[in-house]
Symmetry: C2
Subunit: 356 residues, 2 copies
């Protein structure tokens, strides 16, 4: 029998944390023991894992809660990650972190397993899980990048409420119920009413940068370059929230370095791990992917594959994935799986390969 | 007192026809008499205009119902327009048609009043109202085109249910009520469930062309070129239905021929007729336009104005307008207003300027 790991899930009570728990069980990640960690508010709440009830413990760097962990999957806030992740990494634990805290730190691997798994090889304990909207896009663009190169990407997103967390899902739900009951619509999470509306702002308080782009939009620029390891790729994004519970959709125009036909792109995508092509314009049901069909599914879906008529070498794609799964929890678990397979998890008290 | 016109509204019972009726009254278009025309199913239904009840009459080319009309505002199907519009035009009536039937016919003016009103001067009786998603885009792009030229446009749309007509509005509403009541969601109009989903297909049965684009997407290509009178402009569109009742939103990346700063573009847009710039990233409420705020309003809204970081000379804009108003009914009435002002409506029995 292979090695088993002492695993912690940080932010275990959140939308992503709960899905991590489910995916770790379903994919049979080799877990020796499991700790669920969260803020003091959640202490004592219990969740089932492999038929057992596990009580949530408080995340702390003051006591020994981080001492005996080999691997942490983390999806709390960026501030929380900045606080505990370096402490855990120092203790020999590998932290796969779903926040933006470490993504652009040069020696922190930023990984989509189908795209750049080799980036894990010299890690120093912290691995960054990319932004949800970036993951599905680079996942689908990787085979095209490898075949013909990419000069420029213009992307507009249609992002689900769940990307803003459990309270955002509840707000969309409550707005729909209030609307049906003829009551005033409650609003506290989204900057505008999200029901029957679309909002060209992802991020809560002040997400706008000097150049007019939001933080979310600039994540798509910077993370795409880092993951594809090519700073020459130019990216412009408009990221938009839509009244959908699960599943981000993206309209992506790619300018390639060399010509590629739609048929060639389709063939490459059909071969690529984790990608499902839904692009049968004849059949009514399998014409293109939509968020509702992708919700709860692990794969990244691609459809509407066509040559961009507005540029010499280019493609247009419609990319859909469950933002909580491939966009977050699943990608983090896949990273852990590869690290286990490559023996890149030293274990508590051990030395990370990048520190050797 | 100025001249008054004998006006007909074809498709008077539809979502756009009803809004035409309201706008003709509110903007005090000089109406001498008004006929409401529709299919035989609607005959006898009554609607108020200036405090009077007007009964719907059956549209026909067999009797004299079209004989004494100077102007028809039409929004029935394309087939209906192809059938009656040439007959009405032959009788000296001006038909402002909201369908796609005549838009790309070379000697039919395709007009957005703020953009190319001169195209009306030599009309032959039929004027085409552009597609809703095209109207708001070219409206906002015109001042930028005039200032620095446009090489290429990449647009992704977020189109409201009302663009598919009254039954589509009802379907979204019924799906929301069924969802709240825990019932199965009814579906007959949209190709997939529209509630809590986004659908990358505009158009019902078989909207896909050989090149993979939909008819709606190709309308944005071809109509933009015709309205701006520049076939060198390259356009790529992805048109998407979202669960919104009224108001199309568009993420638009424009590559310009010469450099223009975001501040310069903003200043040009602020000056342009019919445009409202909502782009105050500091103020919480006036940061950017959204569909809900544009619904029921005449103007085209522009926000998120920024320089495109992925190209040397380019802008990114977020353009929002009520698709039933500026995108359809209002634009048609505005065309009629200009034609009245320029004395381009010969009157029943008269000769159209293009036939002189």
């Amino acid at each position: 029998m292979g090695r088993e790991y002492r695993v912690g899930i940080v932010g275990a009570t959140g939308a992503v944390g709960q899905t991590m728990l489910e995916i770790v069980e379903r994919r049979q990640f080799p877990v020796k023991s499991l700790k669920l960690l969260a803020s003091s508010r959640s202490v004592g709440r219990k969740f089932r894992f492999r038929g057992e009830e596990i009580a949530v413990q408080e995340l702390s760097t003051e006591n020994d809660v981080l001492d005996d962990l080999d691997l942490i999957l983390s999806s709390a806030g960026g501030k929380i990650s900045k606080w505990f992740a370096p402490v855990a990494a120092e203790k020999g634990c590998v932290v796969v972190d779903n926040t933006s805290a470490f993504r652009m730190v040069p020696d922190v691997p930023l990984v989509v397993p189908e795209v750049n798994p080799h980036a894990l090889d010299h890690h120093k304990g912290i691995i960054a899980n990319p932004n949800c909207s970036t993951i599905q896009m680079v996942h689908a663009l990787k085979p095209i990048y490898d075949a013909v190169g990419i000069k420029r990407i213009v992307v507009s997103t249609y992002q689900a409420a769940s990307g803003a967390g459990g309270r955002a899902i509840a707000e969309l739900e409550e707005q729909a119920r209030a609307w049906a009951a003829g009551r005033e619509l409650p609003r506290s999470i989204f900057p505008k009413q999200i029901l029957f509306n679309v909002i060209p702002q992802i991020g809560q308080s002040s997400p706008f940068q000097e150049n007019g782009y939001t933080d979310e939009e600039m994540k798509m620029v910077n993370e795409t370059r880092k993951i594809l390891e090519d700073d020459s790729i130019r990216v412009s994004a408009t990221t938009v929230r839509v009244p959908v519970f699960y599943g981000h959709s993206e309209a992506v125009n790619v300018e390639t370095k060399k010509k590629i036909t739609a048929a060639e792109a389709k063939a490459l995508l059909q071969e690529f791990p984790g990608i499902i092509v839904v692009d049968d314009l004849e059949g009514q049901d399998r014409r293109y992917p939509v968020a509702l069909d992708a919700a709860g599914v692990d794969e990244t879906f691609v459809g509407r594959i066509r040559e961009d008529i507005s540029t010499e070498n280019g493609l247009v794609l419609w990319i859909v994935a469950d933002n909580i799964r491939k966009g977050a929890a699943l990608n983090a678990v896949q990273i852990a799986e590869i690290m286990a397979k490559k023996n890149l998890i030293p274990g508590a008290g051990g030395k990370h390969p990048g520190n050797a």
